[in-house]
Symmetry: C2
Subunit: 167 residues, 2 copies
């Protein structure tokens, strides 16, 4: 097997989203066990000017589907960012996973030199596929997964590195 | 250009370590500006049972040099984990970068099927090179860089996503 643009993206996103899903389930279970409102965790932040857990999950979803779609040259599904419960965040992950699974290796492999245009509020970032994947999409996606983990860990949810990395 | 095991590892680690270095410098500058002991940040944690900033940086260093060395089939340099100041953590990053720069693409490319043995306290994890890089080393390394960022952000250091992703 040779490393390829598909191998370095879709299976990576799928595995990390599955781990994030399991971490969120542990967060919800922790709130139930301690008898506090799970919405407190969904809206928890690490700093007043950082985004809350719900947004971390939404952005991780956007990064995964957006990256894979851009590399494949297709449009990703658009989700409305209305999730406010753990159940809705889990469903958001499931919708993201379902889209990622529609993409075939042949659509993404060979996208190293593909022109990627990333629309941002203040302009457009232009990349080639390879540096976009390795130096932007992978660290950006992982940032939001780790920050979701850290928000829950900071709030006492019993999770560890194995939950983050998966088995 | 074709994505390769080298392209997906060493340049990624180098860029993220440079970003981590700049983030730590902002942490040190923040402590100086607010006139508190920078050692408070070096020992700061997100949870009582999480590792402090210094250990996050040491482990990110270990993950980067360990991954690249294993893929190349060489031994990484061993560092003693004695850093207790920002200056020492920056030097640790510099030593890690210097080692990574000694590795040539030809040593790492083609390592997809290489047997990787990862010694752990309670046994050995066996991988092939490709899943080791994509599903273990990249997320594990990034976890510690993001957690270092989150520790500083949680403690009021003025950093943002651009510092994490680099320019």
């Amino acid at each position: 097997m040779t490393l390829s643009m598909y191998q370095a993206s879709v299976p990576f996103f799928l595995r990390m989203l599955a781990n994030l899903r399991a971490i969120l389930e542990k967060g919800e279970a922790h709130a139930a066990a301690r008898k506090f409102d799970a919405a407190v965790l969904v809206q928890a932040r690490l700093a007043p000017d950082m985004l809350p857990l719900a947004r971390q999950v939404q952005i991780a979803s956007d990064n995964a589907k957006g990256c894979a779609a851009r590399l494949a040259g297709v449009y990703p599904p658009r989700f409305e960012d209305t999730e406010s419960t753990f159940a809705e965040l889990l469903a958001r992950i499931d919708k993201t996973v379902a889209f990622l699974k529609t993409l075939q290796p042949g659509q993404i492999d060979g996208s190293e030199e593909r022109d990627i245009k990333l629309p941002l509020p203040n302009g457009t970032l232009d990349f080639k596929g390879l540096p976009y994947l390795v130096h932007f999409a992978i660290p950006n996606f992982t940032f939001h997964v780790v920050t979701a983990y850290n928000i829950l860990r900071h709030n006492g949810v019993p999770i560890g590195k194995t939950d983050f990395l998966g088995k």
